[in-house]
Symmetry: C2
Subunit: 525 residues, 2 copies
């Protein structure tokens, strides 16, 4: 039932000779599905079909696109246990997690559908004409956001549903009016095919154009780069590693016509514990932090990879709590052999740094590709001297950094690169006393979390899941939440266009009843 | 009174030894002001001061920034005739034009000030907490746009006020909360210094931080590239040539930390005349077109460089009208020797293309750097075969392309690159019959003009002065109008932040009374 082919518009094809298998990371065994890698001809066909489909799809109304997204959601649900079981096999993630992720994926599609139905996301702006104005008459000018064109999406290994074939980038691109070509992650191609076929079915049911969605198998450096360099492609979304994201960015900006790349590339998500909170809530913070570090075997982009606190009278007690709580944690099977090896290499590097202590280990792990939680500790001095300590180790590990003073903490904050999140635990007094820390952090990240933990990314209108480089290649955007629709749009304005030829969003009568800026006034009239 | 120095924050300095003069293009003579080029140390100082100033300036309220922008506007007006006279000398533009441009520059600053006072531009989004939600409680998350950091602005030669030192990029960057460093155009350094000193004075009067504004003299390839590559710089705005824009783009994307570049690089602004309109309004269109081509000696980025129409029963009459109307036009002195030479080279190229006719010439010009208007004509076949014919010639010239059929017109439209504008003249019937043309054009440009001419860019909320590459390096943006503020911002969100530590824009009580998206509802509450 898994065919292992490319989905190119409404066709399933496999012209190539190169193939690969996916693996069950829990056993290390090959799964019995075989996938054919896309040929250059297939890549080209998918891109050209997407370009053709764009001319039809861009004219679909918000309501029509909403039904399409909702139908995708329903078709994914209709895959039932088959999807969950296959996904568990390919990722070694527990069933409950996959079911939760499926719910998130479906809800995300529905949230974008509701955004489209409401319709105000297009940022409609209307300036009405004034023929009597001097020295020059004022023309009628009307502005709205439109889709950029075909978008290429690279799925993430760690979210086989929510950041993959029908994940956030796909949902926001389709909502924006852009056809999508997914280069499915080679760690979960069978999961990808099932979801891709659900989208294909929804496209047919909803009378969407052939080419509004395609899914290709293959290597990033071949199929991926060819897609990014294809003239028909207008934007790229990726959740993955720095190496992968940077390679796509470099390919995209060196095209004859450069295109935007939204690559989310990793983050260590620093957590700062302020003095009063450390004294008053040592055990609670230690427990929450240990859970956040080890959630999902630490395989989250928002995993807290550094904890910074001051060496003061509560520090000993807090360290003891951390030790105790972290010892209670468990690891598990990692998503792929590559991730497992990279985790092992990262730990080996940390262990060899002079001045590095191992504060605590989680429960022993005996499984294939099993990762054991480990909590390191070092001084601010060592941390600032060894650049590699500020780099992400993807997995259930974190590094506690003890600073000598408030100034030491601020210095670490000032030297941070771009991250997805930064977290501060503090009492009211702490937060007032460390307002300057928050000022620094909001310039370094997309999301500032107070008295919480960064794992768990709410899908909503107000989420920013993004951040300055190198967390992403474009800090002006988010990959989660409805604001993500704007990564795949650009504004256009119409001057002197007759009312009946304008898009509905800009017509005088406001037939869609959306919020618009009319002569500078926000109004639904 | 012109000092010829760099303005670095609140200091005027000139440490270097290299210098240059500006010229009066009308006479070809050197003006008697000498300007010292910035040294690498001065460039570095300006960038570091801007980074320091950002930490103060980013915390200024919308009202404080509004007063700053208004004070700049007032200080520019206070320069009086001295500014106008000097600007006329450096550009050979007529006094009326400079006065008009000054009014536009001042109004633009005031428009951004009103945007800041109103305050809703930050796109505030609030999701309130729900502790009872299952399976997981919903956190409190609040989103808004914040400034990126120091912005480098490169002024245009052809708008010595409105797209220069205190032009659109400077106004939108300062409005966004970003310090600005201007690399002043070497064609109008004295004008630049006067305006720069007006900004300096406004910054001091308004108690803005030292470094919120700097102005440097020097060459793009030295001072310009050093600025773009400086780690403290977070975004770049330019209005200029393709060569200049592409060089800055390449420098910016190859930095260790890539930054956005908004370069507006030129456009031929195609004009399509549809059959009925051509028959019914031949003389009016011909007159309007000829005026638009030759306005300001054709030195506008929105200058209509191509006119496309069908060869049908009205074509002969229309061509005759064009000939007659174009003959009435006059040229004038161009802005610089480089522009003049480039115009001459462009004409020489066109003239040598086989199948190219000269349809009409404007009045003869005898002045120094004087450009005579010239209107070319060719067939669609020649136009499609000779790529260089679709490239911009900056100056009072245009090319009439006669297509054999509607399909010929659509083919030309489909092959267009990115442009700032596209214009269509048509009756109601025409526009309905050519809806497919408009569909194509809106994908190629930032602004579609119906029955008007592209010159004259309205500064308002709904303007898009931008367009797909190669018109600009970033088609997701506009350089004119209030939407330009978003080129220098990015979103950040706060999770679980105590109300009194939130920016005013996101506090529960909505003290600024701005429009916000609260739990998905647009509201001012």
């Amino acid at each position: 039932m898994i065919e292992g082919k490319q989905i190119i518009g409404f066709e399933m094809v496999a012209e190539g000779s190169a193939s690969f298998h996916s693996f069950n990371p829990a056993t290390g065994e090959k799964l019995h599905y075989q996938f054919t890698k896309a040929t250059p001809g297939e890549v080209n066909k998918a891109a050209e079909k997407a370009a053709g489909a764009f001319q039809v799809y861009r004219k679909k109304s918000g309501a029509e696109k909403a039904i399409f997204l909702e139908t995708i959601a329903n078709e994914i649900n209709a895959l039932g246990d088959e999807l969950v079981d296959l996904c568990c096999q390919e990722t070694a993630l527990p069933k409950g997690r996959i079911e939760g992720e499926r719910a998130r994926t479906v809800n995300q599609l529905k949230l974008f559908a509701s955004l489209l139905r409401e319709g105000s996301w297009v940022d409609a702006r209307i300036e009405t004409a004034d023929a009597t104005r001097t020295p020059l008459p004022k023309p009628d000018i009307r502005y709205m956001e439109i889709g950029l064109g075909p978008v290429v999406v690279f799925g993430a290994s760690n979210f086989p549903l929510a950041f993959s074939v029908a994940g956030g980038d796909t949902a926001s691109a389709l909502a924006a009016g852009c056809p999508v070509i997914v280069k499915v992650h080679s760690a979960h191609p069978a999961t990808g095919e099932l979801v891709g076929r659900a989208i294909l079915k929804a496209a047919q049911v909803c009378n969407m154009p052939d080419g509004v969605f395609s899914l290709l198998h293959g290597d990033g450096k071949d199929v991926g780069i060819q897609l990014v360099k294809h003239p028909a492609v207008k934007a790229v979304g990726l959740t993955g590693s720095f190496t992968a994201g940077k390679a796509l960015f470099d390919a995209a900006v060196s095209r004859e016509v450069p295109i935007p790349v939204y690559a989310e590339m990793g983050s260590t998500n620093p957590v700062f514990i302020l003095p009063e909170a450390m004294r008053e809530r040592a055990a609670t913070i230690a427990a929450g932090f240990s859970a956040s570090v080890t959630l999902g075997v630490g395989q989250f982009c928002t995993n807290p990879g550094i904890l910074i606190h001051e060496k003061n009278d509560g520090a000993k007690e807090f360290t003891k709590s951390l030790e105790e709580e972290f010892k209670k944690t468990s690891g598990g099977v990692m998503l792929t052999e590559t991730i497992f090896k990279s985790y092992a290499n990262g730990l080996a590097h940390h262990t060899n740094v002079a001045g590095m202590d191992v504060l605590a280990l989680g429960a022993e792990v005996t499984q294939n590709f099993g990762a054991r939680p480990i909590l390191f500790k070092t001084t601010a001095e060592t941390f600032e001297n060894v650049t590699a300590l500020s780099e992400e180790i993807f997995g259930p590990t974190s590094l506690v950094v003890e600073a000598e003073s408030k100034e030491g903490i601020l210095s670490i904050a000032r030297n941070l690169g771009g991250h997805l999140t930064a977290t501060v635990h503090g009492t009211e007094n702490d937060l007032i006393g460390f307002k300057d820390l928050i000022d620094i952090l909001e310039q370094k990240v997309g999301r500032v979390v107070i008295n919480g933990f960064p794992t768990g990314v709410e899908v909503c209108h107000a989420m920013v899941h993004g951040g300055p480089y190198p967390a992403t290649t474009d800090g002006r955007s988010t990959s989660v939440g409805t604001a993500a629709i704007h990564r795949f749009t650009r504004p256009v304005c119409y001057q002197g266009m007759p009312d009946d030829l304008l898009p509905a969003e800009l017509q005088n009568k406001n037939p869609l009843n959306i919020w618009r800026l009319v002569n500078g006034q926000h109004t639904q009239k």
